[in-house]
């Protein structure tokens, strides 16, 4: 059993100023996203179409996979199949080793985090360089990403300055983002030029073209993929879209919803290897089809990984990405893996406020899926925070009008006479939150007095 979310979050919340700074940075992304969404009159129509298009994809996966594969092969690419993480890692290591490759430059891919690819390749003596700046910072810090789009959002520039001073020789004490970014550019340029293989993720795989789209702002995916003679692209099978119109629809939404940009700087469409070079695609299941076999869990695979649900989530903003058990934090991470009994507190790292649902570009029912995980864990008697013990009792008391009214009367008196410092000592919910001021009377009492016959 892993530590509870409430416990893990304490590391981050110990520094209140950092919590406020972190929360504000994410809210700024949310604000920029809102401006972009409002700038398109057809935005809500696009969300509805994108949602239905992804439902079409998820209900027609085998035939779309077939179509994508045969078109990719016709375009000169080689397609591989991985049922799980182990197969994925073996395939990638195999491709690299067969060709004697020693150094791989990688652009960001949540899939490779999911399957723990890098440690596997390093065991085989293959050097892996993360090339997205945020990912590279974390690789040098030997730390996992705390966000799927802005992986180093939890770090201060001074911390990055210190790291770069130690690792790539920037001036001591320097923390200017422009200076640090350009120093990283110079250092990474050498890595790109000396790599003998490149890996990218896939944002959209276009079935009827046998092509795929890779979106970046930094240009790292393209910089990596167009130098060596080998490019491996890895994708979860849910990345499929039927056609280029559908890809264009998602391209119009992805950056707007992620960072509030009208587009990422680069939307690169790969439909063939470079002459004389090889392009391999690895298609991965790794539990996806199993989750999709449960209707109430299945729609998580509509997700396009924009991260907007994470930016808007109050629990994430104030708790940080490292407080979660699953490698994807925030609402989408909870919706994917919140049913894990080993990390049973995850599904409660959520207020069910539904802000995530409101910003999701493909209408993943995030809140409903997280609530479903709670329901399942309750049925399995796997509730966290001693809920197995007290929830049945609470249910009994609150289930009777008389019990409810007595409990509320006691709470009104208790909260009035108990000093706040003592309330905080109760622990749990009240540890980092203040109870609301109790009203003078119950609603039922007020109603009888003011509206009663």
């Amino acid at each position: 059993m892993s530590q509870t979310h409430a416990r893990k979050v304490e590391t981050f919340t110990a520094d209140e100023a950092r919590v406020d700074w972190h929360s504000a940075a994410l809210l700024a992304l949310r604000d920029k996203r809102d401006l972009q969404a409002k700038s398109l009159p057809e935005w809500e129509q696009m969300r509805e179409t994108a949602s239905r298009m992804k439902l079409y994809v998820l209900s027609h996966l085998p035939e779309l996979l077939e179509q994508f594969t045969s078109n990719c092969e016709a375009n000169g690419m080689e397609v591989h199949w991985a049922r799980d993480a182990k197969e994925h890692n073996e395939i990638v290591a195999g491709i690299l080793k067969e060709r004697g490759k020693k150094k791989l430059v990688k652009s960001k891919s949540m899939l490779t985090e999911e399957v723990h690819l890098v440690p596997h390749l390093e065991k085989h003596g293959i050097e892996c360089i993360e090339t997205d700046l945020g990912e590279r910072i974390l690789q040098l810090r030997e730390e996992p990403p705390s966000h799927i789009v802005v992986p180093a959002i939890h770090l201060k520039k001074e911390e990055i300055g210190e790291l770069f001073h130690e690792k790539i020789g920037t001036q001591a004490g320097a923390s200017d983002p422009t200076y640090l970014t350009h120093a990283a550019r110079e250092s990474m340029r050498q890595e790109f030029l000396s790599a003998d293989a490149a890996m990218t993720g896939v944002n959209m795989a276009i079935a009827d073209e046998g092509a795929f789209v890779v979106c970046t702002n930094e240009g790292n995916a393209d910089m990596g993929a167009h130098l060596p003679d080998l490019h491996i692209a890895v994708m979860g099978m849910e990345k499929l879209v039927p056609d280029a119109d559908s890809a264009a629809l998602l391209m119009r939404m992805l950056a707007r919803n992620a960072t509030g940009q009208p587009s990422t700087s680069y939307n690169s469409i790969f439909g063939a290897p470079r002459p004389g070079c090889q392009l391999h695609i690895v298609i991965v299941d790794n539990g996806r089809s199993l989750r999709m076999a449960d209707r109430r869990h299945a729609e998580i695979y509509k997700c396009i990984r924009c991260g907007a649900c994470i930016n808007t989530c109050p629990v994430y903003r104030r708790g940080g990405g490292h407080s979660y058990d699953y490698f994807i934090p925030g609402p989408i991470g909870l919706a994917i893996a919140g049913d894990n009994p080993e990390a049973n507190s995850e599904a409660w790292a959520c207020t069910l406020n539904g802000s995530c649902n409101n910003v999701c570009p493909v209408k993943v029912p995030l809140r409903e899926t997280i609530a479903y995980h709670r329901e399942q864990l309750a049925q399995q008697k796997q509730l966290p925070y001693h809920k197995n013990a007290y929830m049945p009792l609470a249910g009994k008391i609150f289930g009777s009008p008389r019990g409810l009214s007595m409990a509320m009367a006691a709470a009104r008196v208790g909260l009035r006479i108990m000093p706040q410092t003592l309330q905080r000592r109760i622990g749990g919910w009240s540890k980092s939150r203040d109870f609301p001021k109790p009203p003078a009377e119950s609603f039922a009492h007020w109603y009888r007095k003011n509206r009663g016959e």
Binding site: Y56, V79, R185, N220, D222, A248, L249
Partner: protein, 194 residues
């Protein structure tokens, strides 16, 4: 390692009810597209080239060459000082200061241009350079990404990229910095149509 057949055999059927493919509406934008494109281009950190004639691009290329910069021109009729036909490996372009490339389309709503691999001596020519200059005909500006993709038609293999402004990152404290791994600047010349 699984064969394709083993992979398909291992898939559990999706519980999602068979859903028909919706019609994907192609959003359009009204004129003036040139002004719209320029406004968004500048908003994403791109610059508008000075002048709207191929002659202006030629003149700019000549200026850059006279400053002893390495200029790779892939634009017909524009002369740089690097011979595109001599490029046999993309690594050779590591010291290129400016790449000048033709764009087949531009997209007003996001300030991007579509550059096709067919027009480049090697794909990396538009990423590895310090600065990128793209040249597009104003009649090739579309309103939205959806219109652009429609206009491109079937891709049919190959490679191409929509580029919207310079390479950028905000990975250090959300501070926007131009010039992460790709070109530090992007200038687009919008030529008056003929």
């Amino acid at each position: 390692m699984a064969s394709k057949e083993e992979f398909f055999a291992s898939l559990t059927p999706s519980a999602i009810e068979p859903t028909p493919m919706p019609e994907v509406a192609v959003a359009t934008r009204d004129a003036p597209l040139r002004e719209h494109f320029i406004e968004v281009l500048e908003g994403v950190g791109g610059r508008l080239g000075q002048g709207d004639d191929l002659g202006d691009v030629k003149q700019r290329a000549a200026e850059l060459v006279s400053q002893n910069l390495q200029v790779l021109s892939l634009m017909e009729g524009v002369q740089g000082n690097r011979d595109p036909s001599a490029v046999s490996d993309p690594h050779e372009l590591k010291d290129v200061d400016y790449t000048i490339a033709p764009a087949r389309l531009a997209v007003a709503e996001n300030g991007s241009v579509w550059i096709s691999g067919e027009d480049l001596v090697t794909r990396n020519a538009v990423f590895i350079c310090e600065h990128l200059i793209a040249v597009v005909d104003e009649n090739r500006i579309t309103g939205t990404m959806s219109e652009a993709v429609r206009r491109l038609g079937k891709l049919g293999g190959g490679w191409g990229v929509f580029i919207s402004g310079p390479s950028k990152t905000a990975d250090i404290e959300q501070a926007l910095v131009m010039g992460a791994h790709g070109a530090r600047s992007m200038t687009v010349y919008v030529l008056r149509g003929v």
